[in-house]
Amino acid sequence: MGAKGEYYPSKLIGKVLKIFCISNFVFDMVSFHRLLVVYPWTQRFFDSFGNLSSPSAILGNPKVKAHGKKVLTSFGDAIKNMDNLKTTFAKLSELHCDKLHVDPENFKLLGNVLVCVLAHHFGKEFTPQVQAAYQKVVAGVANALAHKYH
Protein backbone atom coordinates (compact mmCIF):
# COMPACT_ATOMS: atom_id res chain seq x y z
CA MET A 1 0.00 0.00 0.00
CA GLY A 2 1.59 3.27 -1.09
CA ALA A 3 1.23 6.62 0.63
CA LYS A 4 -0.98 7.78 -2.23
CA GLY A 5 -3.05 4.63 -1.87
CA GLU A 6 -2.03 3.15 -5.18
CA TYR A 7 -3.26 -0.23 -4.07
CA TYR A 8 -6.40 1.08 -2.43
CA PRO A 9 -7.60 4.19 -4.34
CA SER A 10 -8.84 6.34 -1.47
CA LYS A 11 -11.67 8.06 -3.38
CA LEU A 12 -13.18 4.71 -4.28
CA ILE A 13 -12.78 3.42 -0.73
CA GLY A 14 -14.37 6.61 0.65
CA LYS A 15 -17.38 6.20 -1.63
CA VAL A 16 -17.99 2.66 -0.48
CA LEU A 17 -17.35 3.56 3.18
CA LYS A 18 -20.28 6.00 2.87
CA ILE A 19 -22.43 3.18 1.56
CA PHE A 20 -21.38 0.94 4.46
CA CYS A 21 -22.55 3.62 6.86
CA ILE A 22 -26.00 3.99 5.30
CA SER A 23 -28.02 2.09 7.85
CA ASN A 24 -30.94 1.26 5.62
CA PHE A 25 -28.81 -0.22 2.85
CA VAL A 26 -28.73 -3.95 3.25
CA PHE A 27 -25.17 -4.78 2.24
CA ASP A 28 -24.85 -6.74 5.45
CA MET A 29 -27.89 -8.92 5.02
CA VAL A 30 -27.50 -9.31 1.27
CA SER A 31 -23.85 -10.43 1.35
CA PHE A 32 -24.24 -12.90 4.17
CA HIS A 33 -27.50 -14.26 2.75
CA ARG A 34 -25.82 -14.67 -0.63
CA LEU A 35 -22.90 -16.55 0.95
CA LEU A 36 -25.19 -19.06 2.66
CA VAL A 37 -27.20 -19.68 -0.55
CA VAL A 38 -24.45 -19.75 -3.18
CA TYR A 39 -22.06 -21.78 -0.99
CA PRO A 40 -24.46 -23.84 1.15
CA TRP A 41 -21.68 -25.74 2.92
CA THR A 42 -20.93 -22.50 4.80
CA GLN A 43 -24.16 -23.12 6.72
CA ARG A 44 -22.30 -25.75 8.75
CA PHE A 45 -21.15 -23.03 11.16
CA PHE A 46 -24.67 -21.83 11.85
CA ASP A 47 -26.59 -24.86 13.13
CA SER A 48 -28.01 -22.73 15.95
CA PHE A 49 -29.51 -20.19 13.55
CA GLY A 50 -32.69 -22.17 12.95
CA ASN A 51 -34.34 -22.46 9.56
CA LEU A 52 -31.84 -22.19 6.68
CA SER A 53 -33.67 -24.63 4.43
CA SER A 54 -34.27 -22.28 1.47
CA PRO A 55 -33.13 -18.91 0.11
CA SER A 56 -36.32 -17.28 1.42
CA ALA A 57 -35.90 -18.90 4.86
CA ILE A 58 -32.33 -17.59 5.01
CA LEU A 59 -33.46 -14.12 3.89
CA GLY A 60 -36.11 -14.01 6.63
CA ASN A 61 -33.91 -15.41 9.38
CA PRO A 62 -33.29 -12.75 12.08
CA LYS A 63 -30.06 -14.42 13.28
CA VAL A 64 -28.68 -14.32 9.73
CA LYS A 65 -29.52 -10.62 9.53
CA ALA A 66 -27.89 -9.90 12.90
CA HIS A 67 -24.77 -11.86 12.05
CA GLY A 68 -24.55 -10.25 8.63
CA LYS A 69 -24.56 -6.84 10.29
CA LYS A 70 -21.71 -7.93 12.61
CA VAL A 71 -19.63 -9.24 9.72
CA LEU A 72 -20.09 -6.12 7.64
CA THR A 73 -19.19 -3.89 10.59
CA SER A 74 -15.89 -5.79 10.62
CA PHE A 75 -15.37 -5.03 6.94
CA GLY A 76 -16.05 -1.39 7.74
CA ASP A 77 -13.30 -1.58 10.39
CA ALA A 78 -11.01 -3.08 7.76
CA ILE A 79 -11.53 -0.14 5.44
CA LYS A 80 -10.69 2.29 8.26
CA ASN A 81 -7.56 0.33 9.26
CA MET A 82 -6.11 -0.84 5.98
CA ASP A 83 -2.53 -0.23 7.06
CA ASN A 84 -2.97 -2.41 10.10
CA LEU A 85 -5.24 -5.31 9.17
CA LYS A 86 -3.39 -8.05 11.04
CA THR A 87 -3.51 -6.16 14.33
CA THR A 88 -7.11 -5.06 13.76
CA PHE A 89 -8.24 -8.64 13.21
CA ALA A 90 -5.88 -10.45 15.61
CA LYS A 91 -8.52 -11.22 18.24
CA LEU A 92 -11.12 -12.16 15.64
CA SER A 93 -8.57 -14.45 14.00
CA GLU A 94 -7.93 -16.26 17.28
CA LEU A 95 -11.68 -16.56 17.86
CA HIS A 96 -12.31 -18.06 14.41
CA CYS A 97 -9.47 -20.54 14.86
CA ASP A 98 -9.78 -21.57 18.51
CA LYS A 99 -13.49 -21.29 19.23
CA LEU A 100 -15.40 -21.19 15.96
CA HIS A 101 -13.15 -23.57 13.95
CA VAL A 102 -13.88 -21.87 10.65
CA ASP A 103 -11.91 -22.97 7.58
CA PRO A 104 -10.09 -19.83 6.37
CA GLU A 105 -11.25 -20.67 2.85
CA ASN A 106 -14.64 -19.33 3.92
CA PHE A 107 -13.20 -15.84 4.42
CA LYS A 108 -12.28 -15.77 0.73
CA LEU A 109 -15.76 -16.92 -0.27
CA LEU A 110 -17.42 -14.15 1.76
CA GLY A 111 -15.00 -11.59 0.34
CA ASN A 112 -15.86 -12.62 -3.21
CA VAL A 113 -19.58 -12.50 -2.47
CA LEU A 114 -19.21 -9.01 -1.02
CA VAL A 115 -17.46 -7.90 -4.22
CA CYS A 116 -20.36 -9.30 -6.27
CA VAL A 117 -22.85 -7.41 -4.11
CA LEU A 118 -20.88 -4.20 -4.65
CA ALA A 119 -20.89 -4.86 -8.41
CA HIS A 120 -24.65 -5.39 -8.28
CA HIS A 121 -25.09 -2.07 -6.48
CA PHE A 122 -22.67 0.05 -8.47
CA GLY A 123 -23.38 -1.45 -11.90
CA LYS A 124 -21.26 0.14 -14.62
CA GLU A 125 -19.35 2.21 -12.04
CA PHE A 126 -17.82 -1.01 -10.76
CA THR A 127 -14.97 -0.84 -13.20
CA PRO A 128 -12.10 -3.35 -13.32
CA GLN A 129 -9.99 -0.85 -11.35
CA VAL A 130 -12.63 -0.62 -8.59
CA GLN A 131 -12.99 -4.40 -8.51
CA ALA A 132 -9.21 -4.78 -8.30
CA ALA A 133 -9.10 -2.44 -5.32
CA TYR A 134 -11.85 -4.28 -3.50
CA GLN A 135 -10.52 -7.74 -4.26
CA LYS A 136 -7.30 -6.57 -2.60
CA VAL A 137 -9.19 -5.31 0.45
CA VAL A 138 -11.15 -8.54 0.90
CA ALA A 139 -8.02 -10.62 0.29
CA GLY A 140 -6.25 -8.56 2.95
CA VAL A 141 -9.09 -9.15 5.40
CA ALA A 142 -9.10 -12.89 4.63
CA ASN A 143 -5.33 -13.09 5.20
CA ALA A 144 -5.60 -11.11 8.44
CA LEU A 145 -8.37 -13.37 9.71
CA ALA A 146 -6.29 -16.44 8.93
CA HIS A 147 -3.09 -14.97 10.36
CA LYS A 148 -3.44 -16.33 13.90
CA TYR A 149 -4.42 -19.83 12.84
CA HIS A 150 -2.20 -22.56 14.18
Binding site: V117, A119, H120, F126, P128, A132, Q135
Partner: protein, 140 residues
Protein backbone atom coordinates in the same frame (compact mmCIF):
# COMPACT_ATOMS: atom_id res chain seq x y z
CA UNK B 1 -32.32 -29.20 -18.31
CA UNK B 2 -30.17 -30.25 -15.39
CA UNK B 3 -26.44 -30.80 -14.93
CA UNK B 4 -26.23 -34.57 -14.42
CA UNK B 5 -23.92 -37.03 -12.71
CA UNK B 6 -21.00 -35.99 -10.59
CA UNK B 7 -21.87 -32.35 -11.04
CA UNK B 8 -25.22 -32.89 -9.34
CA UNK B 9 -28.49 -31.26 -10.30
CA UNK B 10 -28.98 -27.54 -10.73
CA UNK B 11 -31.81 -25.39 -11.92
CA UNK B 12 -30.57 -24.59 -15.41
CA UNK B 13 -33.48 -22.16 -15.85
CA UNK B 14 -31.42 -19.72 -13.75
CA UNK B 15 -28.67 -19.73 -16.40
CA UNK B 16 -29.71 -16.77 -18.54
CA UNK B 17 -30.17 -17.36 -22.25
CA UNK B 18 -32.32 -14.49 -23.48
CA UNK B 19 -30.06 -11.56 -22.63
CA UNK B 20 -27.00 -10.86 -24.77
CA UNK B 21 -23.79 -11.54 -22.85
CA UNK B 22 -21.72 -8.67 -21.48
CA UNK B 23 -19.24 -7.24 -23.96
CA UNK B 24 -16.34 -9.69 -24.24
CA UNK B 25 -13.36 -7.28 -23.91
CA UNK B 26 -14.81 -6.22 -20.54
CA UNK B 27 -14.43 -9.71 -19.20
CA UNK B 28 -10.84 -10.25 -20.39
CA UNK B 29 -9.69 -6.77 -19.42
CA UNK B 30 -11.29 -7.18 -16.01
CA UNK B 31 -9.49 -10.50 -15.48
CA UNK B 32 -6.11 -8.97 -16.35
CA UNK B 33 -6.73 -5.86 -14.23
CA UNK B 34 -8.06 -7.61 -11.13
CA UNK B 35 -5.76 -10.64 -11.27
CA UNK B 36 -2.62 -9.50 -13.08
CA UNK B 37 -0.95 -12.89 -12.59
CA UNK B 38 -3.35 -14.33 -15.19
CA UNK B 39 -1.62 -12.28 -17.88
CA UNK B 40 1.25 -14.76 -17.89
CA UNK B 41 -0.93 -17.07 -19.98
CA UNK B 42 -1.62 -14.37 -22.55
CA UNK B 43 1.64 -12.55 -23.35
CA UNK B 44 0.17 -11.45 -26.66
CA UNK B 45 -2.82 -9.88 -24.87
CA UNK B 46 -1.15 -8.23 -21.90
CA UNK B 47 -2.37 -4.74 -22.78
CA UNK B 48 -5.98 -3.76 -22.22
CA UNK B 49 -5.42 -1.11 -24.93
CA UNK B 50 -5.62 -3.67 -27.73
CA UNK B 51 -9.41 -3.89 -27.96
CA UNK B 52 -9.48 -5.99 -31.13
CA UNK B 53 -7.41 -8.82 -29.70
CA UNK B 54 -9.18 -8.65 -26.35
CA UNK B 55 -12.55 -8.76 -28.13
CA UNK B 56 -11.46 -11.79 -30.13
CA UNK B 57 -10.19 -13.60 -27.05
CA UNK B 58 -13.23 -12.68 -24.99
CA UNK B 59 -15.54 -13.84 -27.79
CA UNK B 60 -13.78 -17.21 -27.94
CA UNK B 61 -14.18 -17.70 -24.20
CA UNK B 62 -17.83 -16.65 -24.22
CA UNK B 63 -18.51 -18.87 -27.22
CA UNK B 64 -17.05 -21.79 -25.26
CA UNK B 65 -19.29 -20.96 -22.28
CA UNK B 66 -22.27 -20.71 -24.64
CA UNK B 67 -21.45 -24.09 -26.17
CA UNK B 68 -21.16 -25.58 -22.69
CA UNK B 69 -24.61 -24.20 -21.78
CA UNK B 70 -26.07 -25.78 -24.94
CA UNK B 71 -24.53 -29.15 -24.06
CA UNK B 72 -25.10 -29.07 -20.34
CA UNK B 73 -26.21 -32.71 -20.31
CA UNK B 74 -22.96 -34.00 -21.81
CA UNK B 75 -20.28 -31.50 -20.82
CA UNK B 76 -17.37 -33.96 -20.93
CA UNK B 77 -18.01 -34.92 -24.54
CA UNK B 78 -18.73 -31.36 -25.66
CA UNK B 79 -15.64 -29.89 -23.98
CA UNK B 80 -13.26 -32.78 -24.73
CA UNK B 81 -11.24 -30.91 -27.40
CA UNK B 82 -10.91 -27.91 -25.07
CA UNK B 83 -9.94 -30.20 -22.20
CA UNK B 84 -7.18 -31.69 -24.41
CA UNK B 85 -6.00 -28.19 -25.30
CA UNK B 86 -5.83 -27.13 -21.65
CA UNK B 87 -4.06 -30.31 -20.56
CA UNK B 88 -1.51 -30.62 -23.35
CA UNK B 89 -0.92 -27.11 -24.64
CA UNK B 90 -2.19 -24.31 -22.42
CA UNK B 91 -1.64 -25.98 -19.02
CA UNK B 92 -3.37 -23.20 -17.13
CA UNK B 93 -2.97 -23.77 -13.40
CA UNK B 94 -6.34 -24.93 -12.07
CA UNK B 95 -6.19 -22.23 -9.37
CA UNK B 96 -6.92 -19.64 -12.07
CA UNK B 97 -10.36 -20.90 -13.01
CA UNK B 98 -12.03 -19.55 -9.83
CA UNK B 99 -10.51 -16.15 -10.64
CA UNK B 100 -12.12 -16.18 -14.07
CA UNK B 101 -15.40 -17.35 -12.55
CA UNK B 102 -15.32 -14.47 -10.03
CA UNK B 103 -14.85 -11.96 -12.86
CA UNK B 104 -17.73 -13.56 -14.72
CA UNK B 105 -19.95 -13.19 -11.64
CA UNK B 106 -18.94 -9.54 -11.22
CA UNK B 107 -19.66 -8.72 -14.87
CA UNK B 108 -23.05 -10.43 -14.62
CA UNK B 109 -23.82 -8.63 -11.34
CA UNK B 110 -22.92 -5.19 -12.68
CA UNK B 111 -24.63 -5.82 -16.04
CA UNK B 112 -27.82 -7.56 -14.84
CA UNK B 113 -28.07 -5.96 -11.36
CA UNK B 114 -31.48 -6.93 -9.90
CA UNK B 115 -31.83 -9.83 -12.33
CA UNK B 116 -28.67 -11.36 -10.85
CA UNK B 117 -30.46 -13.05 -8.01
CA UNK B 118 -28.83 -15.35 -5.46
CA UNK B 119 -30.38 -18.31 -7.28
CA UNK B 120 -28.83 -17.19 -10.55
CA UNK B 121 -25.42 -16.71 -8.95
CA UNK B 122 -25.62 -20.14 -7.32
CA UNK B 123 -26.55 -21.72 -10.68
CA UNK B 124 -23.80 -19.95 -12.61
CA UNK B 125 -21.20 -20.75 -9.95
CA UNK B 126 -22.14 -24.42 -9.95
CA UNK B 127 -22.20 -24.59 -13.74
CA UNK B 128 -18.90 -22.76 -14.32
CA UNK B 129 -17.18 -24.76 -11.57
CA UNK B 130 -18.36 -27.87 -13.39
CA UNK B 131 -16.90 -26.55 -16.64
CA UNK B 132 -13.59 -25.88 -14.87
CA UNK B 133 -13.57 -29.43 -13.48
CA UNK B 134 -14.05 -30.85 -16.97
CA UNK B 135 -11.38 -28.60 -18.50
CA UNK B 136 -8.77 -29.71 -15.95
CA UNK B 137 -9.75 -33.39 -15.72
CA UNK B 138 -7.15 -34.55 -18.22
CA UNK B 139 -4.23 -32.74 -16.55
CA UNK B 140 -3.06 -35.97 -14.91
Amino acid sequence: MRIPGALGGVGASEVPRSRPPPRSPTWSCRLFTVYPSTKVYFPHLSSCQDATQLLSHGQRMLAAVGAAVQHMDHLRAALSPLADLHALVLRVDPANFPLLIQCFHVVLASHLQDEFTVEMQAAWDKFLTGVAVVLTEKYR
